[in-house]
Symmetry: C2
Subunit: 164 residues, 2 copies
DNA sequence: GCTAGATTGTTGACTACTCAAGTATAGCTG
DNA sequence: CAGCTATACTTGAGTAGTCAACAATCTAGC
């Protein structure tokens, strides 16, 4: 039944599909490159890096596991295991919450801060390189704005600065 | 050392970072939604779906493993394992190559074709829903075009139609 | 103040990959 | 045609996450 007359349905929604497929591919390719670099140069995965970044920017440099899960779009158990690694490496430690015995905060350590700053140098430069080689400033803004409209539970996800 | 005067480097490259972080989040959120749907409704992962789609569109409905790997941005071993599952389910089968004994083709079966068409109905509608609710036609084109400029080894990745 | 239900977090079993090493075949070069 | 290198694929071991079941704690309603 191949190569027949093509039925309608699949052919009218090209623009959405095109965008989705391009997004899938771009993510796979960029992630592969950036992650490999981060792992080789600093022994951090992209999610390790994001955890450190979020903690560094948080009040008191600490965040509940639930909030980290929401920010990184991971499940609670994913966060538990991610933090296991970072704790073992000494970049993060635990702290109890006075007002709620259920929560354990993740707190970034001095070593974690140092690591984040080291990693940021190369990581930010790579990202910049990959994007600026392909887009003008205006295009970057457009791309960021459009992507930002897609679902994502973390509303403040766009400030990527690294506090000292 | 926290909350000091902020050092320059990290703050001048916001547009690239913003785009990258938005891409990461959008990918995580969309993947989560679409994949969950596809798995629940049809028992296929996104990569299963993409394999069937690429095979359906290929000449003779077959592709070398190497070529699938390149199209899906997976490693050779990832493809072996992905195809294992699809073979076990009967959606794909193997075929030898006459001119090169090293290659085994993956060939989509009739059952695979049927499955692909079933899955396409809901999957395409979901994608469409997610995107069209947020973007105008022109914006979709822009988004697709911009994302398409990012690295991705498969140049012909943008035609997503499902052959009958 | 007790109980029902929601929230926070961890764990065990699984999945979907990756990487490195190995096998088999192809094809070129002298 | 002998030997080398490159290509196609598979396999074992490891990693990073998921989901479902669980324990502990909090909170609101009666």
């Amino acid at each position: 039944m191949s190569r027949q007359v093509l039925r309608g349905q699949a052919f009218r929604e090209r623009p959405s599909l095109n965008a989705w497929v391009s997004l899938l591919r771009a993510h796979a390719a960029l992630t592969r490159t950036l992650s490999a670099e981060l792992v080789h140069a600093h022994g951090l995965t992209i999610n390790d890096y994001e955890v450190l970044l979020h903690l560094a920017r948080a009040d008191d440099h600490r965040l509940r596991r639930v909030d980290l899960a929401e920010r990184l779009l991971l499940t609670a158990s994913g966060i538990t295991r991610l933090l296991d690694g970072l704790e073992r490496a000494g970049y993060v430690c635990k702290a109890q919450c006075d007002s709620d015995a259920r929560v354990t905060y993740a707190v970034i350590t001095d070593a974690g801060f140092t690591k984040l700053h080291e990693a940021s140098d190369t990581h930010l430069a790579s990202i910049r390189g990959l994007f600026e080689e392909r887009f003008s400033g205006a295009e970057l803004d457009t791309l960021g704005e459009l992507l930002g409209r897609l679902p994502s539970t973390a509303p403040d996800a766009t400030d990527c600065s690294v506090p000292d």
